[in-house]
């Protein structure tokens, strides 16, 4: 049994101890917000927080994540997270959106450490997150946006959930 603490909830999962955290989250805990983009820490789509630090979940074996706090896009909370998500919505950063969970997890990590990042700080924190739609102009703007000037924006059609249920 592997004991994982995900978004404040404990789970005991009977899985291969070498399984990357990414696949445990997605396939065994139903937390599909964390994305598979490359499986080799080259794109950042699978970024989660491990004890508050952004990491690539495709490179963390579940046995090494035991007894540590894992936070995924579904569980992010707190002022910085809310502001980042709201700014992302306001600036309409997303296009296809597949990388954006990872982008947002990295941005939250950055802005938690450095509330007013310089360009070089953004370069360092965000360069590992690939966006094939190249939404980088807005990703940078989203990281620069002074958090105090933004508020949680009104989200339209926020409940849209297109899973097809039997």
């Amino acid at each position: 049994m592997i004991n994982l603490s995900i978004n404040g909830v404990s789970h005991a999962v009977d899985i291969d101890p070498e399984m990357p955290l990414l696949w445990a989250l997605r396939d065994h805990l139903g937390l599909t917000g964390t994305k598979f983009g490359c499986g080799a820490a080259l794109c950042g789509a699978c970024t989660v927080h491990l004890d508050g630090e952004p990491v690539r979940s495709c490179q963390i074996q579940v046995r090494d994540a035991q007894d540590r706090d894992v936070t995924t896009i579904e569980g992010v909370d707190g002022k910085v997270a809310k502001v980042v998500q709201a700014v992302w919505q306001k600036l309409q950063v997303v296009q296809c959106g597949f990388c954006q969970s990872g982008q947002i997890m990295s941005a939250i990590g950055l802005l938690s450490q450095i509330p007013k990042p310089a360009d070089e700080d953004i370069d360092r924190a965000m360069d590992g997150n690939v966006c094939r739609c190249a939404t980088y102009v807005r990703i940078r703007a989203g990281c620069m946006k002074p958090p105090k000037n933004s508020r949680e924006g009104k989200s339209y059609a926020g409940h849209q959930d297109l899973r097809v249920k039997d």
């Binding site: 396939d27 598979f36 919505q89 309409q92 094939r132 739609c133 339209y156 899973r163």
Partner: protein, 731 residues
Amino acid sequence: MLDIKTSASKIEPASPARRNFLKSSAVVSGALVLAAYVPLIRKAYALTANDPPQPNVFIRIAPDNTVTVIVKHLDKGQGIATGLTTIIADELDADWSQMRSEFAPANVALYNNLAFGIQGTGGSSGIANSWMQLREAGAAARAMLIEAAAQTWNVPASSVHIEKGILISGDHRAPFGEMAVKAAALPVPAHVTPKDPKDWIYIGKFVPRLDSYMKTTGKPVFAMDHQQPGMLTALLQRPPRFGGTVKSFDATQAKAIKGVVDVIQIPTGVAVLAADTWSAMKGRKALKVEWDDQKAETRSSAQIYADYSKLAATPGTPAKTKGDAAKALAGAVKIIEAEYRFPYLAHAPMEPLNATMQLKPDGSAEIWAGSQFQTIEQATAAKILGLKPEQVAINTLWAGGSFGRRATPSADYIAELAMIVKTANRKEPIHLVWTREDDLSGGYYRPATVHRIRAGLDAKGNIAGWESRIVNQSFMYGTPFEPFMVKNDVDATAVEGAADMPYAIDNLSVEWHRAQSPVTTLWWRSVGHSHTAQAVETMIDALAVAANKDPLALRLELLKDEPRYIAVLKLAAEKAGYGEKLPAGQGRGIAVHESFKTYVAMVADVSVSKDGAVKVDRIVAAVDCGIPVNPDVIKAQIEGGAGYALGAALRNQITLKDGIVEQANFDTYEPLRLTDMPKVEVYIVPSTEDPTGIGEPGVPPVAPAVSNAIFAATGKRLWSLPWDFGELRRA
């Protein structure tokens, strides 16, 4: 979910004859469906641009006041769900917060792309083909709601108007939901007049994207996120060489991996089925397969280029002939020759290809996918499974990018999945997943291309003649698209952007050689324009320099009868400060290109260091795509298109060594990253023309604008892509 079935699911696009037949025999259900169902007659017809308004096909108004737009196109980030919803919301004068979108089921009769005749998304046609269809559908729904309110209140319909989703007459007020049932019983008006553009409240203005919230909160919206109880994950081991086949395989070790439930052979490889993705990956790694390469591509990229180069030295099939280019060039006083090489390119959407399929107890099948060619995928899966097309339901989900990759005339990955499902013959749903390595080595690339140009100036410095020879593979022959795309044995997508170049050149010859290889190829964001714009726009630049003319001035001169080109050129030049003197080591270049009826000019600024390192500092773009429905989405597509094109031009190429792809993941095929991204400014030319495409047209002008800027900074021409900055260091 909608319960829609139809028997009209042929794979071939509706021909003109068929369209006429359909038009005369079309009977469209009269009930405006404002609640949960769309009662469709099961009859073979397909909507065309000439059909009466179809509110019941595209709009669902519920008693809770939500207005759901049924979106017939795939949204892979280009914003079409928001775009089509904008058109309906505007016609209805709805409140944006009540608008929803839902992807249409596979149903070619109702949801065909009016530009293709099949249900599918591509060619930057989403808004363009839906424009009048949805304006009329919205106008009809509006008229029916107003009529329902008028009858309820016993007032003339002319006294009823709508404000932000509220029907109003005198003191009477009602939200849409209250009138939905009554309106549903009214006949659909045969003719409607969409709103006057001066009354638009959303079109041309900012509206929030429908998908921002769910995509910033990790909601499961992609095919990759689709999960069902008992679902198995399949990974397919494909031949390492294109055209290869399975000779034999040994699954002993793969089957010993915990979680692996089966290993099966299908015509295109060996599939490992497992309880989860990790087990499937381990199982595939343990698989031993011997391949038969007798019919496979075994050349290396250098050889392919050499073969193409040899072909380019010989006359090809004429794609465009104007005047006598050979004679004109014989008399030219100055000739510029260039051979351009463009590599195979992978699309590499962020969401790797994947789809889930399940056989149902009643014998039908259901698919969950980011489906881009629903009609082709439905027909292909049906054929493999031995079903009728209407027995295959497709749930289209939001796609994590495509750039053309999900739209294959062979329905490649859906076909693979159907073969796996058929061979495995299990009750469980099966989710076929491609890894990034599968994606980059899996073919369906932008065709590698050699383009040889000879162009010359006469004694007055005017362009005397121009000869282009383009060599590449076609992905149109043998597909349902061949009759439309191949004319006089020339694949239009192979030469587009060159054969139809807009410049007033009296003596022009564009020829094409069709190259052959088992390497699979496909449209890649902007298709032929992805390489022809680089060739045409850098050569025009070189001719301007050779004629001692300013590159912008020469373009304006050669485009004097093309006002839309001129408008974008002038706007981009003005906004970019074109003509300013720049410090040493910096350069500014310009390019213009039309694709999918949208005109884009770009001015690029670059800095080149002494050691030849190039940084693209800024791109200023001007775009004319007709009426701009969602200006912010248009800006986003140009920003993103600039980045997508720049990444490819900087460092992307798929190369073969003895037939085997040399790139594996994002380390060897490294996408553009944040630190590579220039500033991008986008300016939209105001227009009253019908809207045209925006998903692709931002790509073509990027590489030539930057190439021309590099020339301005260094005096050196980098013709081919990706750029070889080493040339800047060499004497």
